[in-house]
Assembly symmetry: C2
Homo-oligomer: 506 residues x 2
């Protein structure tokens, strides 16, 4: 028997970092912000996504055609969902910046953060008001008040942290230009609230102008990010001014913390996966009276009625789960999330949030078989966009691979090929399903379900398949070259199979 | 101007651990399990809590009395919520144990974990079937099938990890008794499924026996935990057998990873806080037709109708937020979560999950003023139990403070007093509110709202209040002793104010 080992090391594996750091700060009342940030991420991601529920709960009775009033109702709810999603991601990004400046927290900061969260949760309600009463300025007025309140709380947090400098990020704490920093950060924080203050003023006498200003608040960060990125690709990176290096990390344009991007994404995937089972439990438990009367007491017969719902549920859960898996694999290889990557991630998540809609669409077949083709296509489109934006994150990361990727995943490695295959699976499958519904119109449902069931197995067999494909690619040129091994082709077209992945024949 | 600093260090502060470790493993396809575990925690906590939604969405029309059929409906839904919550926490604890054995993951394990999650999400549906059709054995049969499927997936994960030992926890990896470990762990995993297999058999001819067996599966871990703890307190800790030290950490009775307890709790608090705004957005946006007809187009008048809802929303959000804050402060001082602490935490979270019900209760005043007293009392009771179990975690931790607490929080320190005050605030406030509704029956709503608004300020002023209280306590004995400084009281009653907190006069 070996000497008795202490059980502690095994237990502390996961909690090691937090345990090690917790105690030295407890004495002066400061705490590490890690857990508060995870909680904020979870809260914000759920708020961003949960507004898809009113969209999926829109009741369309079987005899009712897909008429104007229903279309309008659906459109308003989708608009609320998208606006909420965008503004919450903007608020989340601002929150991330803020706590890159504030390194530690104490009780007061934790409470102020909760106040900030509470104000953010109120934003979806103002959107609901806005889209239900587009020509009453109250909705936009409340929205502006909320944004101003959020700005005020953030300014309070900032002011408090600068008043007790031991709470600040060590880099700023040691800096000689602390007052400069403070002014710079406060200016960034007051950007949105100032615009909203003007918008609130306009809402009292000329409300269309306030909608314009609101759109500026929501979209400006995205537009400016996209523009600066395009400019960067076209002209090359702008020469930074002499003293801006110090400011860079706290700027609106610096990269986001990879860990918080992951936490926010996890929250969105988790809530989307769970909303599905909620619908199943609320809608698919048959009524005891129905079972007695319609199915002569046979529960199995009653349940088999809603069989397609269960199939759709498992298909959708698998889709959400595998998209998370692809995202997880992708971010394993990522070192830093630059702004365009963050933007693409937001877009991907917005479509992931739409997946319960896809579930709703495909599970409604049993009731409304007549427009099943459109529904399958909408579902395919949602899955396609959610996955293609993930693929875009990867290609964007490859453009600056030295900065953004881990060395093992850079172009040419085997991990690179696996990553590529994983991310390409869903775009290809959904595109294929979409295309085949155009040809085989009658079997569209079967095709869609086949896709949902086949893709998980494809993921399991992926390593095998990629190895096989690489082996075939390596073997092909040899086979092709054997009949004419002596033919030299110096001016001819370049051999396509000769890629960095295939060192042998080149 | 100081020399230009690189922005990197500041950015990597939060992601440092994951970035530093990520790359060395990427080459052989293994990954750290941290992110997958956070995702699983988020998923499980949301599934555990989301079944409160059907409870809060139970429609009770104003003219309808609280009659038998409504009571039965509510009771079944609350039963589904509680059963789901308990079984999901059991599954979560098993998942935590499992990934204390498996240290690293690869793609196959990540996919198997997703399959496990998918099966767990199906459990609430089987509960819904069970409580809607208590005398049809199909529900319990499906439940048993689910548990067996979960067991099978967990056994697959275990088998896979033992087949590729580099995925195991380093301690087991190096151990000479790896085969012994494997058998021991598989035996623990097959405990529940074996019971469920028998229960599934019984469900075909004598279903009451299967309910009994199911209850065993759900409650056995809790009962055995509570029993072993009580025995430990009464008789003293049992002498461990000679070779059991090595097994200890993978036993059902070892402490849980603190980080995962935090992540699971965060998920519950976050989803509870967010469910509230969902109700607001779905129910409290007035109908455009109503506004035109009833309120002659005045949106402000229509909204002020549902004023109590907003007040109730802010009150409830503050309650959830502050309970999270207390939990966060508590776990800052905790080093390890022992089993009784985990059990108390689960009980506290189950009541936190009931808070949307409290919101629903208090926001229904506008419609049904006649039974407002009962509703206020139910809300007070929910808040009281959620907070008193947090308090119990703290007292339980104090019983073994050497093992469970950080040194700074042990008995006698100032942090200790703050902690005590923070955790006692909600139990005291809710008890006070409950008591005053018994005396001042007519003002019960006002009292409840006053409590909800006053407590956040109490938290803000807590440090001040505790310092004041300590100062008064220190000053009191001096004042009390001054009139009779010469009286000796050797056999008299001990001075109550002489506690370890007050070193001066003792």
């Amino acid at each position: 028997m070996s000497r008795p080992q202490s059980p502690e090391p095994a237990l502390n594996v996961q909690g090691a970092s937090s345990i090690g750091l917790g105690d030295e700060d407890a004495a002066d009342g400061t705490q590490h912000s890690h857990r508060m940030l995870s909680f904020s991420d979870a809260l914000l991601s759920i708020i961003a996504t949960v507004m898809i529920l009113p969209v999926t709960h829109t009741d369309i009775s079987p005899e009712q055609e897909f008429d104007k009033s229903i279309q309008k109702l659906l459109a308003t709810r989708i608009a609320v969902y998208l606006m909420t999603f965008l503004i919450v991601t903007v608020a989340w990004a601002a929150h991330t910046r803020l706590f890159q400046v504030v390194g530690k927290i104490d009780d007061t900061l934790a409470l102020l953060n909760l106040a900030c969260m509470m104000t953010i949760t109120f934003l979806p309600f103002t959107f609901s008001l806005m889209v239900t009463f587009p020509d009453v300025p109250l909705g936009i007025f409340l929205f502006c008040m909320c944004v101003i309140a959020i700005g005020a709380v953030q300014a309070l947090i900032m002011g408090y942290a600068f008043h007790f400098p031991h709470l600040l990020n060590p880099q700023i704490q040691r800096s000689a230009h602390r007052a400069l920093y403070k002014r710079h950060i406060l200016r960034i924080i007051f950007h949105g609230p100032a615009l909203c203050f003007v918008a609130a003023g306009f809402s009292l006498f000329f409300y269309p102008a306030s909608y314009l200003l609101m759109a500026t608040v929501i979209f400006l960060p995205y537009v400016s990010k996209a523009a600066s990125w395009c400019r960067g690709r076209l002209v090359g990176p702008r020469e930074p001014p002499a003293h801006s290096l110090e400011f860079f990390t706290f700027d609106l344009h610096g990269p986001l913390s990879k860990e918080r991007v992951e936490a926010f994404s996890d929250g969105v995937y988790a809530i989307v996966a769970t909303l599905l089972i909620l619908d199943i439990c609320e809608d698919n438990v048959p009524d005891p009276k129905d079972v007695r009367e319609k199915f002569s007491g046979s529960l199995v017969a009653a349940l088999s009625e809603s069989g397609p719902h269960f199939l759709a549920y498992f298909g959708s859960f698998a889709t959400v789960g595998l998209l998370w898996f692809a995202h997880h694999s992708l971010f394993l290889h990522v070192r830093k999330a630059t702004q365009p990557m963050g933007l693409l991630n937001t877009l991907s998540l917005a479509f992931v949030g739409g997946l319960p809609l896809a579930y709703q669409q495909t599970s409604a077949f049993a009731r409304q078989p007549h427009d099943e083709l459109e529904r399958v296509r909408v579902s395919c489109a949602i899955i396609f966009f959610a996955s293609i934006f993930q693929f875009a994150i990867w290609t964007t990361a490859l453009l600056q691979e030295g900065e953004t990727l881990q060395p093992s995943a850079r172009f040419g490695g085997q991990e690179h090929a696996f990553m590529f295959a994983k991310l390409a699976l869903y775009p290809c499958a959904s595109l294929l399903a979409f295309a085949s519904t155009c040809i085989l119109t009658r079997f569209s449902t079967a095709i869609f379900h086949l896709m949902q069931i086949a893709v998980p197995f494809a993921f399991l067999l992926l390593r095998l398949l990629v190895r096989l494909a690489l082996a075939i690619l390596r073997a092909l040129p040899r086979l092709a070259l054997r009949p004419a091994p002596t033919r030299p082709a110096p001016g001819g077209p370049r051999d396509d199979t000769c890629s960095p992945l295939l060192p042998a024949p080149c």
